[in-house]
C-alpha cells in the first residue's frame, strides 16, 4: 500500500494521490505524489499565495529596496513583522512596508493614479533609497491596472530611480510557488545585464536561493570570502537590487533553494552559459561536500580543505555531543518543500535522527523525487498536507520533535510534542557547520525540556 488514504480524507479521496509511504523494493517512479496541483477548498491546507512567494520570500529580503504593494492594505500588513531576514544595514527591509492602500473608488475607476502618488510619496519619504519593487495583488490584477507603464513614467520623471514590477496576484498558480517563478523569470528578462559589477576576484559566484534567515547568508559568505571567492549577486539574502542586476558576470551559480530560485539559475545558464551547481548549504557533511565541489570547480581545493579543517575543529566536537544524544529521535518536517530534501538525510547522517514524516506545502515533482530518493523507508511523504492529516500522522508515528511553523508548533504543543521553527528557526542561523550545530542544539533543548514530562502528569492521580 504505497499510496495512503488517511482516515480523515475518506470524503476527499483524491488526497490519496498526494501521500506516499516508502517501502522496500518499490519503483519510485510509480508512486511519486501528485504535487503543485489545485488545492482542495476547505481543507485547512497550509498553503499561502503567490504574492507571498514573490514579495515576502524573495523581493522583501533586499536591504535597499522599497517594496510597494499595489492593493488594499492587508497584503502589506500581513507581510510585515513576520520574517527573520536581517541585513548589515540596520534591517531597513524588516522595518518598513508600503501600500497604495486601494479603495473602492479605485477598484471601480482604476488605481494607477493612486499607485503613482504612492510611489512618489515613498521615494520622497526615503530620499536615500532609489530602488523599488511594485507588486500587483488580487484586486489590482483583476481590474487590470498597468503598473509597468506607471513605473516607467516615474522612472523618467525622477531620473535616478529604478523600479521592478511583479505581476503575480495571490490567485495565480496554486501556491507561493508561482510567485517565485514570476519573480525569477521577469527579473531575468528585465533587469539582469543592466548593471556592471566591479570584479575583484578571478573566482566569482552568484549564491542563488538563500534568503539570510537569521543570518544564514553571513555564514555562507564567510566561507566564500575565506576561499577568496567574490559573490556577485546574492539572490536575495542581505542582497541589493543592483547586485542582482549584475548577476550575468559571475562564473558560477551556486544554488541552494532550487525550488524558489532554480528558474533564474537555469536562465542564466541558457543565456550567459553560467553553470549551475546545486549544493546543500544546510547540513554538516553537506557543507563539506559543497565546499569541496566549489573548490574543485575553481581549482582551489586547498582553500576549501582549509575552511573545512578550521570549521571542523571548531564545531566537530559539539556536533558529536549532540549526535550521541539525538540519535534515534524521530522527526517530522512540515515546511515548504526544499528543506525536506535538504534535511532528511543530513539529520540522519549528521545526528543519527530519523525523519519519519514530511509534508511540503508547495513542492513540485522534482522536490518529491529528491526527498524520496534521500529519505528513509517507512517514512510518510505528503504533498500539500492539511491539519487533520497532521493530527493523524502524529497519532501514527509519535515523533519526538516537529520542524514546522510557529502556528502549527503551538498546535502540536497541546499534544505534548515540541517543535522547532523549520521556517524562521529558533536560534539560528542553521546553515553551514555552525548552523548544523545550532539546529541540533535547538532540537535537543526542545526534546529535553522538563515541561513535557510535567505536562503528561495528572496531579489528581498522584495524591
Amino acid at each position: 500500500m504505497p499510496l495512503k488514504l488517511f482516515k480523515c480524507d475518506e470524503t476527499i479521496p483524491e488526497r490519496e494521490r498526494h501521500v506516499y509511504i516508502k517501502e522496500e523494493g518499490e519503483d519510485l517512479t510509480q508512486y511519486l505524489p501528485a504535487s503543485n496541483v489545485n488545492t482542495i477548498p476547505g481543507t485547512l491546507s497550509e498553503r499561502g499565495c503567490s504574492y507571498c512567494g514573490a514579495k515576502l520570500v524573495i523581493g522583501g529580503a533586499l536591504k535597499d529596496t522599497i517594496q510597494l504593494v499595489h492593493g488594499p492594505i492587508g497584503c502589506t500588513y500581513n507581510t510585515w513583522h513576520t520574517k527573520r531576514y536581517p541585513s548589515d544595514n540596520n534591517n531597513f527591509q524588516l522595518k518598513y512596508v508600503w501600500s497604495s492602500d486601494m479603495k473602492e473608488g479605485n477598484v471601480v475607476f482604476g488605481g494607477q493614479k493612486r499607485l503613482r502618488d504612492s510611489i512618489m510619496e515613498a521615494f520622497k519619504a526615503f530620499p536615500d533609497v532609489k530602488r523599488m519593487m511594485v507588486y500587483v495583488t488580487c484586486a489590482t490584477a483583476l481590474i487590470g491596472d498597468d503598473v509597468k507603464t506607471t513605473a516607467r513614467e516615474v522612472e523618467e520623471e525622477l531620473g535616478d530611480v529604478d523600479i521592478f514590477c511583479i505581476q503575480c496576484p495571490g490567485f495565480a498558480g496554486v501556491s507561493q510557488s508561482m510567485g517565485h517563478h514570476v519573480f525569477n523569470i521577469d527579473w531575468m528578462k528585465e533587469k539582469i545585464g543592466t548593471y556592471e559589477p566591479e570584479i575583484k576576484s578571478e573566482y566569482t559566484v552568484n549564491v542563488i536561493g538563500d534568503y539570510n534567515i537569521q543570518g544564514d547568508t553571513f555564514v555562507v559568505n564567510d566561507y566564500l570570502n575565506r576561499m577568496g571567492i567574490q559573490v556577485i549577486g546574492h539572490f536575495t539574502g542581505n542582497g541589493t537590487y543592483d547586485a542582482l542586476r549584475g548577476m550575468h558576470r559571475a562564473k558560477l551559480n551556486l544554488t541552494n533553494c532550487a525550488r524558489s530560485a532554480g528558474y533564474i539559475a537555469n536562465e542564466l545558464k541558457k543565456k550567459y552559459g553560467i553553470p549551475r551547481m546545486d549544493v546543500d548549504t544546510w547540513g554538516y557533511d553537506y557543507a563539506k561536500e559543497g565546499l569541496r565541489k566549489l573548490g574543485a570547480y575553481f581549482g582551489i581545493e586547498d582553500k576549501a580543505e582549509q575552511v573545512i579543517a578550521e570549521e571542523d575543529a571548531k564545531w566537530g566536537e559539539k556536533r558529536k555531543w549532540y549526535k550521541e544524544r539525538l540519535a534515534g529521535k524521530k522527526v517530522c518536517i512540515w515546511t515548504g518543500g526544499p528543506r525536506l530534501w535538504h534535511w532528511t538525510k543530513a539529520l540522519e547522517d549528521d545526528l543519527g535522527m530519523e525523519v519519519v514524516a514530511m509534508s511540503s506545502k508547495f513542492g513540485h515533482q522534482e522536490d518529491f523525487e529528491k526527498v524520496i530518493s534521500r529519505g528513509r523507508k517507512g517514512t510518510i511523504y505528503i504533498d500539500d498536507g492539511n491539519e487533520l492529516e497532521f493530527f493523524e500522522v502524529l497519532e501514527m508515528i509519535k515523533p519526538d520533535v516537529v520542524l514546522t511553523g510557529p502556528r502549527v508548533g503551538e498546535m502540536v504543543k497541546k499534544l505534548q510534542i515540541p517543535y522547532v521553527n523549520g521556517h524562521g528557526y529558533h536560534n539560528g542561523p542553521y546553515m553551514g557547520f555552525e548552523g548544523s550545530v545550532n539546529m541540533a542544539r535547538d532540537m535537543y533543548n526542545a526534546i529535553n525540556s522538563p515541561l513535557w514530562g510535567l505536562s503528561k502528569k495528572d496531579i489528581r492521580q498522584e495524591v
Partner: protein, 461 residues
C-alpha cells in the same frame, strides 16, 4: 487646550496600523464554538491571518480558505465555496457555523455568496437532512474600512443571521469588541460581582488554552450558536467597543427592542464608572461594595505614580479607535499628556465621535488626532522633531519606532507579539486601569535604568 482632528495627507500608506476587513471577520469567527470560517479568496488572505493570530496569542486557530485559483478568478468562484463547505462539513462533524468571508478578489469579481448559500442549503437538505450547519455570509471587501470594521461586519452578520426572538432570558448582552481574553475575564468578574448574568459575544477567554495531561485542549472561542440566537431575548446590550460590535447591538435594539448602550470603552476609572453604571441601569442591579473597593485600590495605585512620574509626560497612542480614545481619557486621569492620537483607517465617523469632541473639555495638553493614519505619521514627527515623546502606547508593529528612537513603549491592543503573555492581562475595568498604570510605570522605570536617568530616584516614592 485644543483638540485638532486632521487627516493624513499622503495617498499611500507606509507601515499600516491595521490589517484589512477580512482579517476582522476572521477574528470574529474564531470567537465562536464549533465554527470554522471559509475565507473566500486567495490562500494568503487566510494563511497570513492565522499566522497573525498565532503571533498575538501563541495559539492555533482553525480558519479555512476556498483557495481561489486563476480559473475561479476569471470565471467565478462560487463552486469553490460549495466545495469548501462540503469538505468542511464532511471532515468536521461537530461544526455548527461556517461564516463565508469575502475578500477583495471575490468582491471584485462579484461572486454571489447569498445565492450560493441558498443553493448549498437546498442541496444539503436533500443529501443530509440532519445537517444543521449554518452558513453565514460576511461581506468584507478589503478596499473599504479595516480590520476594525471587518470585525463589526462579522459580529453584525452573526447576529442578523442567528438572533431569534423567544422567551426573555434576563441576561445582558456584552459585545466585547476586539479585546483580550484577560479583558473578557475582567468584564465577567464585574458582571458576577453585580449579580448579572452575561451573554458574552464573543467570549474569547478560552483562547488561553492549557496543555492538558490527556492532550484534550485546543484553543477556540466559547460563544455558541445558541448564545447568539438568544441575544434577541436579553434585557439589553452593552458594547465594550462601539466600532467593534456596536452595529450588532444597534441591530438588536431596532429589530428586537433590546436596548443598546454604546459608550466609552471601559479603560480608566471614569470610563469604567460609566460602564458599570450602564450595566446597573439596564439590569436594575446595584453596584456592590467589592467594586468600590477595586476602584479604590486602582486609584490608590495610580496616585502613587501620577504626579510623581506621569505628570507632564507626553504620550502618543495608536490602535483601535475605541481603545485610543479611552486610553486618552485614562492618560488625562493620571496626568499623562496624550499629545498625539493616531486612528488607522478612513472611517469618517471618528471625527464626529462625541468622545473625541468632548476630549477638548478634559484635555490637559494640545492634542493632535490623525485620522486615516499610518505609523509613518508617528515616525516622521519624531524624526523631524515636530514632537517629543516620553512614551508610546500601541501594538507591536510599531516597535521599531520606539526602539530606534529610544522612546519607552507600552504594548496595548492587537497584536502585541513582542512581549510575553500580555493578552492574559486586563486593561479594562478598575483592575485594568491599575495594571496599565503599573505597566507604564515599570516601563518608564526600566528606561530610567537603561539611560541612567536619575535611576537612584526609584528608592522611596
Amino acid at each position: 487646550m485644543s483638540v485638532s482632528i486632521i487627516k493624513k495627507e499622503r495617498t499611500g500608506v507606509i507601515n499600516p496600523i491595521f490589517n484589512c476587513q477580512p482579517c476582522g471577520a476572521q477574528y470574529a469567527s474564531i470567537g465562536i464554538k464549533d465554527c470554522i470560517a471559509l475565507v473566500h479568496g486567495g490562500q494568503g488572505c487566510c494563511t497570513f491571518v492565522r499566522l497573525m493570530f498565532a503571533q498575538h496569542y501563541k495559539e492555533n486557530f482553525d480558519i479555512a480558505s476556498s483557495s481561489i485559483h486563476e480559473d475561479a478568478a476569471v470565471f467565478g468562484g462560487t463552486q469553490r465555496i460549495e466545495d469548501g463547505v462540503e469538505t468542511l462539513i464532511n471532515r468536521y462533524p461537530d461544526l455548527k457555523v461556517i461564516p463565508i468571508i469575502t475578500t477583495c478578489s471575490t468582491e471584485t469579481i462579484g461572486d454571489d455568496v447569498e445565492g450560493t448559500i441558498r443553493k448549498i442549503n437546498m442541496s444539503w437538505k436533500k443529501k443530509h437532512p440532519d445537517c444543521k450547519v449554518k452558513l453565514i455570509p460576511m461581506h468584507t471587501p478589503s478596499y473599504t474600512g479595516s480590520q476594525v470594521s471587518g470585525y463589526d461586519v462579522g459580529v453584525l452578520s452573526l447576529v442578523t443571521e442567528l438572533a431569534k426572538k423567544g422567551e426573555p432570558n434576563g441576561k445582558l448582552n456584552i459585545f466585547t469588541g476586539w479585546i483580550n481574553p484577560g479583558d473578557v475575564a475582567e468584564v465577567k468578574s464585574i458582571l458576577s460581582q453585580m449579580g448579572v448574568e452575561g451573554n458574552i459575544l464573543l467570549d474569547v477567554e478560552s483562547f488561553d488554552a492549557p496543555i492538558m495531561p490527556d492532550k484534550s485542549a485546543l484553543a477556540y472561542g466559547s460563544t455558541t450558536v445558541e448564545d447568539i440566537a438568544d441575544s434577541a431575548n436579553s434585557v439589553g446590550s452593552v458594547a465594550v467597543c462601539k466600532y467593534e460590535g456596536g452595529r450588532a447591538a444597534t441591530f438588536l435594539e431596532e429589530e428586537f427592542d433590546v436596548p443598546a448602550v454604546l459608550d466609552s470603552m471601559p479603560v480608566g476609572i471614569e470610563n469604567t464608572d460609566k460602564f458599570i453604571k450602564n450595566i446597573s441601569k439596564l439590569t436594575g442591579k446595584e453596584i456592590p461594595e467589592s467594586l468600590v473597593i477595586e476602584r479604590g485600590k486602582a486609584i490608590d495605585a495610580m496616585a502613587d505614580l501620577a504626579h510623581m512620574f506621569f505628570a507632564n509626560k507626553k504620550v502618543a497612542i495608536y490602535g483601535d479607535p475605541d481603545l485610543v480614545m479611552a486610553l486618552a481619557d485614562f492618560c488625562i486621569e493620571c496626568e499623562l499628556e496624550p499629545v498625539l492620537l493616531l486612528l488607522g483607517d478612513d472611517n469618517k465617523k471618528y471625527a464626529k465621535d462625541p468622545r473625541l469632541v468632548d476630549l477638548e473639555k478634559r484635555a490637559n495638553c494640545n492634542i493632535e488626532v490623525i485620522c486615516n493614519s499610518d505609523l509613518w505619521e508617528l515616525e516622521r514627527r519624531i524624526k523631524d522633531k515636530s514632537i517629543e515623546l516620553d512614551l508610546i502606547m500601541g501594538h507591536s508593529k510599531g516597535r521599531y519606532i520606539a526602539i530606534d528612537n529610544n522612546i519607552p513603549m507600552v504594548r496595548v491592543g492587537f497584536p502585541t507579539f513582542d512581549r510575553a503573555g500580555l493578552w492574559k492581562h486586563p486593561i479594562v475595568g478598575y483592575k485594568g486601569a491599575e495594571f496599565l498604570a503599573e505597566t507604564i510605570a515599570n516601563t518608564l522605570f526600566t528606561d530610567m535604568e537603561n539611560k541612567h536617568n536619575k535611576e537612584w530616584l526609584l528608592n522611596v516614592w
